[in-house]
């Protein structure tokens, strides 16, 4: 009889442990501290809607502004204003602050469909994969480059932030779409023969490259005042 009792004792003890564990996980779920993921997702949606609205307002204002400058130029007809406007537009073009068109390539990067035997991190695209690709595009003579519509300038940051990558000042998940204007065949050959692309393909990261006879690349989207980008710089006249 004592043997049965000890068996019963063990069985009931396990049962008790089971109930306590269940109870605790249920408790943990209920008393999660801070706002829930759902609340945060709603707040993020709110910020994004607001952002889209502001961007729309801004692009309308920019169009008004450009129109206004053109009107003043026409009314004046004077050489000075027109040449200033022309110099300003040329500088914007050189700085990447204007939309541009030309021929080039489109390259799309997407995570591996199913991870293989190696570490899961190897099947995901990181900033360290994107940086050499940008450099190789530049070596192949790219004149304007964008990733997911973000124009890449000389001081553009690309930082890996969890499953997304921060480009300029916005975060993007996969897929990453590179657009590059330059000599299409030269760009295409450079990327198809690139060691970095070959390594990505070993890890089943999908890299599609195609040439495009006409591409449009967005201007650099400047948040904040234009001068913020150069706030710490003073021009040296030589």
């Amino acid at each position: 009889m004592t043997r049965y009792r000890s068996v019963l004792f063990v069985v009931l003890m396990l049962f008790g442990i089971g109930i306590v564990m269940q109870f605790r996980t249920v408790m943990d779920k209920d008393t999660g501290s801070g706002p829930s993921a759902r609340e945060l997702a709603q707040r993020l949606d709110g910020e994004r809607t607001e952002g889209a609205r502001l961007l729309e307002t801004l692009s309308k204002l920019e169009a008004d502004y450009a129109e206004r400058l053109r009107q003043i130029g026409e009314n004046q007809g004077s050489g000075e204003f027109s040449s200033l406007l022309e110099a300003r537009n040329q500088a914007f073009f050189q700085a990447g602050l204007t939309r541009v068109k030309g021929s080039g390539i489109v390259m799309t990067l997407n995570d591996a469909v199913t991870p293989g035997d190696m570490a899961i991190e190897d099947y995901i695209i990181h900033d360290s994969d994107i940086i050499p690709l940008l450099n190789e595009l530049r070596i192949a003579g790219a004149e304007a480059v964008s990733i997911n519509g973000e124009r890449i300038l000389g001081m553009t940051k690309t930082i890996c932030a969890g499953p997304t990558i921060l480009i300029n000042s916005s975060r993007y998940p996969v897929p990453f779409e590179f657009k590059a204007i330059g000599d299409p065949q030269r760009l295409y050959d450079a990327m198809e023969n690139s060691e970095s692309v070959a390594v990505l393909r070993i890890y089943d990261i999908r890299v599609d490259i195609r040439t495009e006879p006409e591409l449009v690349i967005e201007k650099y989207r400047s948040y904040g005042a234009l001068g913020d980008l150069t706030a710490g710089l003073e021009v040296v006249v030589q």
Binding site: T25, L58, Y65, R99, G232
Partner: protein, 236 residues
């Protein structure tokens, strides 16, 4: 009789143990799943918080930019001074754009980084690329390597034992000038497990000197650094 009673008890106990065992295993599985869900949720929450902060920051800045443009437009409308204001605005905008493009020589405070190989390993393009990128991540505003201005089209490539930037051959020591917040840049380079630690393993000799007067020359205007001949602007 006694035998029969005993086997009945054994059978009952076997059934109880079986049921308990199934319950415990099931329980264990659900506890494990719950903790996994909890860790996913926690990660998701911190990502969401970061996303919200990023979006909010962007929106505040957009608001500023909108106000800036509204003020410019309002200034155009106040007759007399309007045209003169417009000309002044055009000059200012052109200057800022030329700085961003890298076509103006600029001065400012920042960090001077000198780098040379002290061991067998030479400094390769990818090492320099990594350094440049770390500086970009720390909000650098203007940069040069051996006085070659880094612009949107600047490449860094290996050319024999040395590097080539903007189509020009450089020799060691490499001197990187970075205008921005020197503390921020230095901290990110010195991060534990960061790139300076790695360079020490490669036996690169690296010195960081904060300076409040760095001069970074403009990109040469020879289509080697800043290339724009294969594209056309689309006016707004």
């Amino acid at each position: 009789m006694k035998q029969g009673r005993k086997s009945g008890l054994t059978f009952a106990l076997t059934m109880i143990c079986l049921v308990m065992g199934i319950i415990v295993a099931w329980q264990y599985g659900s506890v494990k799943a719950n903790t996994q869900i909890a860790s996913f949720e926690k990660k998701r929450v911190s990502e969401l918080v970061e996303d919200i902060l990023q979006e909010r920051g962007n929106n505040e800045k957009l608001q500023q930019r909108i106000e800036e443009l509204q003020n410019e437009l309002a200034a155009f409308d106040t007759e007399a001074s309007g045209d003169r204001d417009a000309m002044e605005t055009l000059r200012k905008e052109a200057r800022i754009a030329r700085i961003i493009a890298g076509l103006e020589t600029v001065k400012g405070g920042g960090l001077l980084i000198e780098m040379d190989a002290a061991g067998d390993r030479i400094i390769e393009d990818r090492h320099m690329l990594e350094l440049v990128n770390e500086l970009r991540a720390s909000d650098v505003q203007a940069m040069s390597i051996n006085d070659e201005r880094i612009v949107a089209t600047s490449e860094i490539r290996k050319a024999g034992r040395y590097l080539m930037v903007n189509g020009h051959q450089l020799v060691t020591p490499y001197v990187v000038k970075a205008i921005g917040d020197p503390k921020k840049m230095e901290n990110s380079l010195r991060l534990l497990g960061g790139i300076l630690e790695k360079y020490a393993l490669y036996e690169f000799k690296v010195t960081l000197t904060p300076s409040d007067n760095l001069i970074i020359p403009a990109a040469r205007d020879d289509e080697m650094a800043l290339r724009i001949n294969l594209m056309t602007p689309i006016e707004p």
